[in-house]
C-alpha cells in the first residue's frame, strides 16, 4: 500500500491547516487532562506520606485541665498505643512590623525534646535547645507572611505578663497544614500562627506544672476509634473535656481532605468534561474532513480496494493529528502537572514531593482522543464505503432543494437573495449543520465552564465578606464573660458599635450520627453577622431552637421540626434536646446558629457571652489595634479586612493556576473548532464556489456566501452553548459539594459574554484566513480535479 501511504502523506500536507487545528485541539485536550488528572492521587498520597513520616495523631482532645494521673489513665485505655499530654494555649501576639494584633497558638514541646506525635518538621533553624525556655519554633506560613525567621522575637501576654520569646526555627507540622483560628473558615497566616514552645514556659502561663490541657493519641492499628474516644471522654469527664475526636473532625485534616476532595472536581470532573468535549469535537471535525473525500473513496472502491484497506487509510489520516497532538500534549501536560504540584506543595506546605509522570493517565488521554477521532473518521468512511461506488463517483449531484419551513413561512421574502442561498445551504445538509452547531456550542460551553471557578470564588468572597461578616473585628474572650464586658469594649478607641456573641462547643447527635461543632449564638436584633444563603437571602436566628446549615442538617439527617440531642461541652455540660427550627443553604461551613437568649436558656448560663463583634471607625483602627494587643482577656481576634486579604492570597491564588490553564486551553480548542468548521466548509464547497465564480459571482459575493453560512451556524452554536455552558457548570457545582464548602452555581453574564467574545474572535481570525484561501482559490484547478 505504498501509494496509499504516499497519498496519506500528501493529504496530510494538503490538509495541513485543518489537521493542525485538529492537532491543537487534541493537544489541548490531552494536556489539560494529563495536567488536571495527574493531581488526583498526588495530593492524597502526599498527605498520607506526610502523616506517616511526622506521626500525625489519630485522636485529639482538649480539656480545661487534667492531672498527670488522668493522662496516664488515658494511656492505659485499650487500643491506645501512644498518649501524649500537651499544653495548648492561645494568646494575643505583638508581631514586629505588624500593626494588627495577631493570635498565636502556643503548643508545648516536651522537655525531653521532640514530641512523640505531630512532630514539627524544622525547615529553617533548629529545635529549641534543652532548657532554653524562651526559644520557640514558629510555623512556616506565619513566618513567611510576616517575614520572620530565626533571630526575631515575638511578644505575647502569657499569664498576665508580657513575655518575649525568641524564634530559633521555622517548622511545619501535619497537625497544622491548614492553620485556622477557631471558628474561621480561611487561613490568615499573617494574623494567626502556631508557636511550638518549651513546656516550661507554657506550664507557667497556664499554671499547669505537671498536668495538661490537651492530649494527642496514636491508636493501635485496627483499634476501634469510636470505643477509644468514648473511653477517653469517660476518663477525662471530670476535667472539663471538650470531647475527644478523631482525624475526621480535626480542623486542619478536614479542610485538607475537603480541599483534596474538591480538587477531585478539578482533577476528575473537569478533565472528564474537557476531554469529553475534545473527543466529541475531534469526532465531528474528522468525520467532516473525511466526508470531503467521498469521491476518492468511491474511486478507490471502483479499483477494487477493500473497505478495510480504505478504512485503514482514513483512520491513519485521523490518527496523524491525534498523534501530533499527543506528542505535544503529553509532555506539556506532564510539565504543567509538575508546576501545579509545586504550587500545591507551596500552598499546603507539604514537605516537597515531586510528581512523577503518570503514563497511565497520559495513555488514557491519548486513547480517548484517538478513539474519538477514529470513531469520527470511521463514521464518515462507513458512510462513504456504503455508497455504491457508482454513486459516490458521479460528478457531484446537483443538490436537492425543497421548499423548507422557512419558505413556507415566507420569512425568506424578507431576506436578500444571497441570504436565501445561505439559509437554504444550511438547511440542505441538516446533519452537517447539526454537527457544526454542536461543535461550536460545546466549545462555547467549555469556555464558560473554564471560568466557572473564577465566578464561584468571587461569589464565595462576596457572600462571606460582604453579606455574612459585616463586623470589622471579632474578639473572643478567654473565659465566658457577663454582658457587662461589652461596655469595656464599647469604650475602646474607634469602636462604633458592639454586638455580643456566644460560641458554645457542643456535640450534635441524631440517631447514630454525631458532629462536634459549636452553636453560634447571636442576638436576634444583631446586624453585624448575618446568616446568608447561596441565593443571598438573609435568615434570622430563630427564637426557639437551632438554625442549621442545610448541609449539616443533611449530614445529621434532620429537617426543620425534628429534634437533636445536644451535648454541651462546657459550663454545665448537660445534655439537652433542642428542635431544629430552620435550615439555611449556606455556601460555607456546617454551622448551627441560635438566638443568644435561647442559648442562655439551654446552657443555663444567663448573661454569659464568649466574644463580641465590633464595628470600627477606620480612622482609629491602628489606635484600637494597639489597645487590643494588650488585652490578656482576649484569646482570639479576627479582622475582616485581613481575612479578606488572606482569602484572596491563599484560596484564590491556589485555584488561579488551574483556572488559568483551563482558560488557555479552552481558548485554543475554541479556535481550533471554529477554524476547522470554516475550513472544512470551504473544502466541501470548493467546487461549488469555483462554479459560482465561473458564473460571474465576485470573490466578495462568494466569500459572503461561505461566511453567511458560518455566521448563521456560529450564532446558533452560541445560543445552544449558553444552555450547555450552564449545564456543565451545574455538573461541576454538584461535584464540588463537600461538608465544609459548596460551590455556588453562579454563571454571570460576563462568562457568557467572554465565551461569545472568544468564539467571535476565533471566527474573525478564521474568516481572515479563509478569505485569503478564497482569494487564492484556483477556479480552474477546482473544476479540473473535482472534489
Amino acid at each position: 500500500m505504498r501509494m496509499l501511504n504516499r497519498k496519506l502523506r500528501r493529504d496530510v500536507l494538503g490538509l495541513a491547516g485543518p489537521l493542525a487545528a485538529v492537532a491543537l485541539v487534541a493537544a489541548s485536550g490531552i494536556a489539560l487532562f494529563v495536567t488536571l488528572r495527574s493531581m488526583r492521587g498526588f495530593l492524597a498520597q502526599s498527605q498520607a506520606d506526610y502523616y506517616r513520616d511526622y506521626r500525625f495523631a489519630d485522636v485529639f482532645v482538649l480539656m480545661k485541665r487534667a492531672p498527670a494521673s488522668a493522662a496516664r489513665a488515658v494511656a492505659r485505655i485499650p487500643g491506645v498505643r501512644v498518649a501524649e499530654p500537651r499544653l495548648v494555649f492561645e494568646a494575643v501576639l505583638d508581631v514586629p512590623g505588624l500593626a494588627e494584633p495577631a493570635v498565636g497558638r502556643f503548643v508545648s514541646i516536651p522537655a525531653s525534646g521532640e514530641p512523640l506525635l505531630n512532630v514539627p518538621h524544622v525547615r529553617v533553624g533548629r529545635m529549641p535547645a534543652p532548657g532554653a525556655e524562651r526559644e520557640v519554633l514558629i510555623s512556616e506560613a506565619f513566618a513567611q507572611a510576616n517575614r520572620l525567621g530565626p533571630g526575631d522575637s515575638l511578644s505575647a501576654v502569657l499569664n498576665g505578663r508580657w513575655e518575649r520569646v525568641h524564634v530559633v526555627g521555622v517548622a511545619i507540622s501535619p497537625e497544622y497544614i491548614y492553620e485556622l483560628q477557631g471558628g474561621e473558615l480561611f487561613p490568615d497566616n499573617r494574623l494567626f500562627g502556631v508557636i511550638w514552645t518549651p513546656r516550661a514556659l507554657l506550664a507557667a502561663a497556664t499554671g499547669l506544672e505537671s498536668g495538661c490541657n490537651a492530649m494527642a493519641l496514636q491508636l493501635e492499628p485496627g483499634a476501634p476509634e469510636r470505643d477509644v474516644i468514648e473511653a477517653v471522654d469517660r476518663v477525662l469527664a471530670p476535667y472539663g473535656t471538650l470531647g475527644a475526636y478523631g482525624r475526621a473532625e480535626h480542623v486542619s485534616h478536614k479542610f485538607i481532605s475537603d480541599e483534596i476532595e474538591q480538587n477531585r472536581v478539578g482533577a476528575v470532573v473537569m478533565p472528564a468534561i474537557l476531554l469529553g468535549v475534545t473527543a466529541f469535537l475531534l469526532n465531528v471535525v474528522l468525520s467532516r474532513l473525511v466526508a470531503t473525500q467521498r469521491a476518492q473513496v468511491a474511486l478507490l472502491k471502483a479499483f477494487g480496494f477493500t473497505n478495510n484497506e480504505i478504512g485503514l487509510h482514513y483512520l491513519l489520516l485521523a490518527l496523524v493529528p491525534v498523534a501530533a497532538g499527543a506528542l505535544v500534549g503529553v509532555p506539556v501536560g506532564f510539565r504543567l502537572s509538575q508546576a501545579t504540584a509545586a504550587l500545591y506543595a507551596r500552598f499546603y506546605r507539604f514537605p516537597v514531593s515531586t510528581i512523577r509522570p503518570d503514563w497511565g493517565v497520559a495513555l488514557a488521554a491519548c486513547g480517548i482522543a484517538a478513539a474519538a477521532a477514529l470513531a469520527g473518521a470511521a463514521i464518515a468512511v462507513r458512510a462513504a464505503v456504503r455508497l455504491p461506488p457508482a454513486e459516490g463517483m458521479r460528478p457531484p449531484a446537483p443538490a436537492r432543494f425543497e421548499a423548507g419551513v422557512l419558505d413556507r413561512l415566507r420569512v425568506q421574502r424578507l431576506l436578500a437573495p444571497s441570504a436565501r442561498i445561505v439559509v437554504r445551504n444550511t438547511a440542505r445538509r441538516p446533519l452537517r449543520a447539526v454537527a457544526a452547531v454542536t461543535g461550536i456550542a460545546l466549545a462555547f460551553a467549555m469556555l464558560v465552564v473554564s471560568r466557572y471557578a473564577f465566578s464561584a470564588i468571587d461569589r464565595i468572597e462576596e457572600v462571606q465578606f460582604q453579606h455574612v461578616q459585616r463586623e470589622d473585628i471579632s474578639v473572643t474572650f478567654r473565659e465566658a464573660a457577663p454582658r457587662a464586658a461589652l461596655n469595656a469594649l464599647r469604650r475602646l478607641p474607634g469602636v462604633l458599635d458592639v454586638e455580643p456573641m456566644r460560641v458554645v462547643p457542643v456535640a450534635l447527635r441524631h440517631g447514630a450520627v454525631e458532629r462536634r461543632t459549636a452553636i453560634f449564638a447571636l442576638p436576634a436584633t444583631g446586624d453585624l453577622r448575618r446568616i446568608v444563603d447561596q441565593d443571598l437571602r438573609t435568615h434570622r436566628v430563630p427564637a426557639n431552637g437551632l438554625l442549621l446549615t442545610t448541609k449539616l442538617a443533611d449530614v445529621l439527617g434532620v429537617r426543620p421540626g425534628d429534634s437533636l440531642t445536644v451535648d454541651l461541652r462546657e459550663g454545665t455540660r448537660r445534655t439537652v434536646r433542642v428542635p431544629v427550627a430552620a435550615v439555611a443553604d449556606e455556601a460555607l461551613g456546617a454551622n448551627a446558629y441560635a438566638d443568644l437568649e435561647y442559648a442562655a436558656r439551654i446552657t443555663g448560663e444567663r448573661q454569659a457571652i464568649s466574644g463580641a463583634l465590633l464595628a470600627v471607625d477606620p480612622r482609629r483602627e491602628s489606635e484600637l489595634y494597639l489597645t487590643l494587643k494588650q488585652q490578656p482577656a482576649l484569646v482570639g481576634i479576627g479582622i475582616r479586612s485581613a481575612a479578606l486579604r488572606g482569602f484572596q492570597r491563599t484560596i484564590a491564588e491556589s485555584f488561579q493556576v488551574m483556572i488559568f490553564i483551563s482558560v488557555i486551553f479552552s481558548v485554543i480548542i475554541a479556535f481550533g473548532v471554529v477554524y476547522n468548521g470554516a475550513r472544512v466548509a470551504l473544502s466541501e464547497r470548493a467546487r461549488e464556489l469555483a462554479s459560482l465564480r465561473v458564473l460571474g459571482f465576485t470573490k466578495r459575493e462568494v466569500t459572503t456566501m461561505v461566511f453567511g453560512e458560518q455566521v448563521l451556524l456560529t450564532l446558533l452554536g452560541m445560543a445552544f452553548g449558553v444552555a450547555a455552558g450552564y449545564a456543565l457548570c451545574a455538573v461541576a457545582s454538584a461535584a464540588g459539594n463537600t461538608e465544609l464548602f459548596r460551590i455556588p452555581l453562579v454563571v454571570p453574564v460576563t462568562s457568557y459574554a467572554y465565551a461569545a467574545a472568544v468564539i467571535a474572535g476565533a471566527f474573525l481570525a478564521s474568516a481572515l484566513a479563509m478569505r485569503q484561501r478564497i482569494r487564492e482559490l484556483d477556479i480552474v484547478e477546482c473544476l479540473k480535479t473535482g472534489e
Binding site: 501509494m3 497519498k7 494538503g14 479499483f303 455504491p388 473535482g786
Partner: protein
C-alpha cells in the same frame, strides 16, 4: 468469437425518487465475448452508464442476473465484488477521476500494487504516450493527458475487461484518437475485452459489435464486418 465473458439476462434497474420511479434499465439481455470490442451508443438517459456500472460490479441491478465467466455478480456481496473489480476489471471514466494528490506514475502504481500480474506503471504510461509526464500531478496536465493516465491506470493491471464510460467525451478529436488507440492497443496486445460508451457514432467503427440502447433496453446489436483502427477515424 471467443468464449462468453459476460452473460446477462433480464437486467432491470429502478431508481426511486420520492414517488417517482425511474426505470433506468427495463430488461436487458446481453452476452459479451472475450477479446471483442463493443461500443454502446444511445441517447442520454437511455441507461448506458447504468449497464456499464452493473457489469463492472460498481452497482447492483434491481432484478435479473449477470455472470462474469462463472461468477454470479448479482447478490455476490461487497467483498466478492471488490475482489472481482480488483482482479478482472479496469475502469475509465468520463471525468478522469485521478487522485489529485498522486502523480501520474503514482496514480497508476496505486492500482498495480493491488493487482496480481501488473505491468510496470511506467510501461503503462508509455503505452498511452505519456512517458514524459511520469511525475506530473493531475492538476498539471491537460484533460486528454489526464484521461490517458486514467487509461494507463486501467490497463496496467492487465484486466480481463476494460469498461470505458465516454472516455473521449471531454476531448477534442485528435486527443480522442490517441486515447482510443491506447485502448485498442490494449485489446490487441493483451486480449482485453473492451466496452466503450460513447455519443460519437464514428467511434462505433472501431468495434466488433455496436450496441444501441433506448429507454433502458437494447434496441439493436450490429456486427461490423471489419473493425477499423482508431487512427483512421475522423470526426
Amino acid at each position: 468469437m471467443g468464449p462468453v465473458l459476460f452473460h446477462a439476462r433480464g437486467l432491470t434497474k429502478t431508481y426511486h425518487m420520492g414517488d417517482v420511479a425511474v426505470h433506468a434499465l427495463q430488461g436487458v439481455d446481453l452476452d459479451l465475448y472475450e477479446g471483442e470490442v463493443v461500443v454502446i451508443l444511445g441517447p442520454s438517459g437511455s441507461g448506458k452508464s447504468t449497464l456499464l456500472n452493473i457489469l463492472g460490479g460498481l452497482d447492483a441491478p434491481s432484478g435479473g442476473e449477470v455472470h462474469f465467466r462463472d461468477h454470479q455478480l448479482v447478490g455476490a456481496g461487497d467483498a466478492a465484488l471488490t475482489r472481482y473489480r480488483r482482479e478482472h476489471v479496469g475502469f475509465v471514466f468520463q471525468f478522469y477521476n485521478l487522485l489529485p494528490s498522486l502523480t501520474a506514475t503514482e496514480n497508476v502504481a496505486l492500482v498495480t500494487e493491488i493487482a496480481e500480474r501488473p505491468m510496470p506503471p511506467a510501461d503503462a504510461l508509455h503505452l498511452v504516450g505519456l512517458g514524459e509526464r511520469l511525475d506530473h500531478f493531475p492538476s498539471q496536465m491537460s484533460g486528454g493527458e489526464q484521461q490517458r493516465v486514467a487509461i494507463a491506470r486501467a490497463i496496467a493491471k492487465r484486466p480481463d475487461v476494460l469498461l470505458c464510460d465516454e472516455p473521449t467525451g471531454a476531448l477534442d478529436a485528435e486527443t480522442g484518437v490517441v486515447v482510443l488507440q491506447a485502448l485498442a492497443r490494449a485489446n490487441r496486445e493483451l486480449g482485453t475485452t473492451l466496452v466503450v460508451i460513447t455519443h460519437n457514432a464514428t467511434i462505433a467503427q472501431m468495434a466488433d459489435r455496436v450496441l444501441r440502447m433506448r429507454d433502458g433496453r437494447i434496441a439493436s446489436i450490429e456486427t461490423n464486418a471489419a473493425r477499423r483502427d482508431p487512427a483512421e477515424l475522423e470526426w
